[in-house]
Symmetry: C2
Subunit: 475 residues, 2 copies
């Protein structure tokens, strides 16, 4: 489906803010998940690079008048097709709106454009001893706007929470071009509806965020990092649950299964055992050693084989190397295999051992390679179901395993997507997770705020009747 | 305006679940703020005590069909008329839905009915070393449902956040009787719109909460409490700002001005100086003494006169006595004087010294007694503008001062209501705080989810054109 976007030339945009060129449009057709989701992406009819809130407002108002879809885009690091222009139209590339608009270190607050890279926020505030805690692992590539769109989170969420917990307010543009401000600079407010948290995680389907007021945290005085190695994955998962239940003061607690460890060892040429590992980082102002000892005791109760911790930056880096390089290790393990649908599920922490155990059991049963890792302290599990894309039977087996795992997470009281949003990839799971009533309430809000379905149409809500569709961008 | 509510007799409700008696109806006409807001309340046409989600659903569906308003009610401890049935109709008293439905200590989670008293949650989980941190000062009287309705918060918010930060999910009934579930038992989710945080703080205007999944925290190992006395209020406010900016690990940091101290001394017969005070509580697992010393040093830089801290429960109680009894002290200070519009404003912490200073300056200028206190670490200030209700000129002077203070808070980047909601009392400030666009977006959501305006009509949104109305329940 193509849309006539020539009206964009009549708007007050500089030449370099608008392109109809094939190359520019094609570079906005996909995200990181597209290839693995067996898709080619969808090429937008035009790309616009707004440089101000007024630009965004003008594009939206004009597009809505003409029934042309607008899909916000930035780094393109989403995994669920969140920024893919499913119905064509305009890709609204916000990467040039990357300014620090205001910085108030005395209030632990910073106002930024949506296009700023996450780690740039960290660097900007570092000299004041501050940091932005909820950055995802892709924080040095992904933008704050993208993180807000999917309510992203990451390794430090176990201690510091998710993006939503650190967004105090937003400036955003509604589908008709109206600019609104949400939230407050006060750290709490009970005035009116919480539009901020409604927009966070709404994947650009309700409004386009043009500025965000973020909270910052003070850097902890004590940071220690390291690694624990276990004999079995069950031991490792139980140890994580026990540590979280005991309220050990970890800031990161990452599980990596034995298969992932094998892949990392092969990739890095390292000589670690091909065994399940837990990577840890402790943050505290006082008593970090006591917390580490408490954690060691708990881990020993679960037969930890090795427990290594350091307060030296370079040693910590070494201990964490396998975790850090894991994505590359998995990707390069076997050139004939590709992961199906990268993403995550998240379950209540008490169900984490069962989720992990069942994942491996089902993977064995399916006779497929499924390296697993995750922000375990949140109950988060990333799985890569590896299949030979040229073997349709194997692909179908992988698809079935993938569906079974997501269904299991929901059954255990968890969520189909802890940190990557619904996008296109997880639409089939929206209603099983939330129930028909809640999904209809979400649709009601979408229809009310964006009656012409201008903003990122085809996302979050399944469009087909049978609800079985995992991904069908042509729909 | 009265509504024929006889249809309630046809619903499947026991006799003791429904009353048309004057006494029962009159006891649901007001909240804690009504008298001080110079109102008589509004008597509902009927009171219903639902005992199940099905009861709530049946009442709402039937009421919506007949155009009868339904206003949720529980402890009646709101300050802004939040639970007053502004347009009559049904008062839906949720106090009998006070069960602990499920308790999962291993996940730090509890599912409760909306009618449960806050401190009952604390007691229920105490033996597992857990507690519910964001309880307001009225936590031993107020219900969880009421706290959710106004996104309440309290003394420990400076460390632990507000109610919204501790609600993982809700069961709620929409205006047409549809039961929905929101959120997840996983501690994070990015699946679909965040309906949970939209409903928290919506004051029963979008749905009636029938069950809440709350997060719990582990009790800290170290608790110390005490009091600091300052020479001037400016010193005290600056000291609080400096402590918060330095990230001192306080769990409570309460400011009390000299006038409040005078009233407390008089009420208690205590011999403390009539001077500004800061009440403190520190929570930590390690290093609490270091944090206290850091705080002492900061306070000494602001000329603290006395700094007393204890780890003994009964000594802590003694040190906190003036703060604990403050509300009673203010209320009984002068029988001829009454506070206008109790409530709060909250500003960014860097603006707190200015907010406090200006409040006292304007009070002096108005020649009125205005005792002030607040959860200072949040930038929160409660003021009581005391006036002789029989002196219209004084009342008008008081009203003007009140409006000036709320306007000032908004001007300083803060909020008209940090923890008590908009209700009827703060409607005039909704648009000045959020702007016309955001308020219209809120109205759009209200109209979409409750098209017949069944749920708590006349709240949050001003109904008069001029926006000047502070309170007009007859409208």
């Amino acid at each position: 489906m193509t849309h006539d976007c020539s009206f964009l030339e009549d708007l007050d945009l500089a030449d370099e803010q608008l392109s109809f060129a094939d190359g520019r449009r094609e570079s906005h057709a996909a995200d990181w998940g597209t290839e693995h989701n067996d898709g080619d992406g969808v090429v937008p009819d035009a790309v616009v690079w707004p440089e101000s809130t007024d630009d965004v407002s003008a594009v939206l108002a004009a597009a809505q008048d003409r029934g042309v879809p607008v899909t916000p885009y930035a780094a393109g690091t989403g995994l669920e097709g969140n920024a893919v222009p499913a119905h064509g139209g305009i890709s609204l590339d916000l990467t040039r709106m990357d300014d620090v608009v205001d910085y108030r270190p005395e209030d632990f607050q910073i106002d930024v454009g949506p296009g700023i890279i996450g780690s740039d926020v960290d660097e900007y505030v570092a000299s004041d001893g501050l940091f932005f805690p909820p950055l995802p692992s892709s924080g040095d590539i992904s933008t704050i706007g993208g993180m807000i769109a999917t309510d992203a989170s990451g390794m430090q969420t176990v201690r510091y929470g998710e993006i939503a917990d650190w967004v105090l307010g937003l400036e955003a543009v509604l589908a008709d071009g109206t600019v609104i401000e949400t939230g407050s600079r006060a750290i709490k407010t009970s005035s009116g509806y919480n539009l901020t948290d409604l927009l966070v995680g709404s994947e650009g389907t309700l409004a386009v965020v043009t500025e965000a007021t973020l909270e910052l945290a003070g850097r902890p005085e004590q940071i220690r990092g390291g690694r624990a190695i276990f004999e079995t994955l069950d031991d490792a998962a139980e140890a994580v649950f026990d540590a979280v239940r005991t309220d050990v003061g970890v800031a990161k607690i990452e599980l990596v299964d034995g298969l992932s460890a094998t892949m990392a060892n092969e990739y890095l040429g390292s000589e670690l055992p091909d065994a399940p590992m837990v990577f840890l980082e402790f943050h505290a102002n006082h008593g970090v050693d006591e917390e580490i000892e408490l954690c060691r005791t708990i881990f020993e109760n679960h037969d930890v084989v090795r427990f290594e911790m350091s307060d030296d930056d370079s040693e910590m880096d070494d201990l964490w190397q396998a975790r850090r390089e894991l994505a590359y290790a998995v990707a390069s393990y076997d050139p004939d295999l590709e992961p199906l649908h990268p993403g995550d599920v998240t379950v209540p922490i008490s169900s984490y051992p069962e989720m992990v155990h069942e994942t491996k059991r089902l993977a064995d049963e399916s006779d497929l390679l499924v390296p697993c890792f995750g922000h375990a302290g949140d109950g988060n599990l990333h799985y890569s179901v590896l299949v030979d894309p040229d073997d349709p039977e194997q692909v179908e087996r992988g698809e079935e395993l993938y569906r079974t795992l997501v269904d299991l997470a929901i059954e255990l009281g968890g969520t189909a997507t802890g940190e990557h949003g619904i996008g296109q990839g997880k639409q089939a799971y929206l209603e099983p997770e939330h129930g028909a009533g809640a999904v209809e309430a979400m649709r009601t809000i979408k229809r009310a705020l964006d009656p012409s379905d201008t903003l990122n149409p085809g996302k979050i809500f399944p469009e087909t009747a049978d609800g079985e569709r995992i991904r069908d961008p042509e729909q």
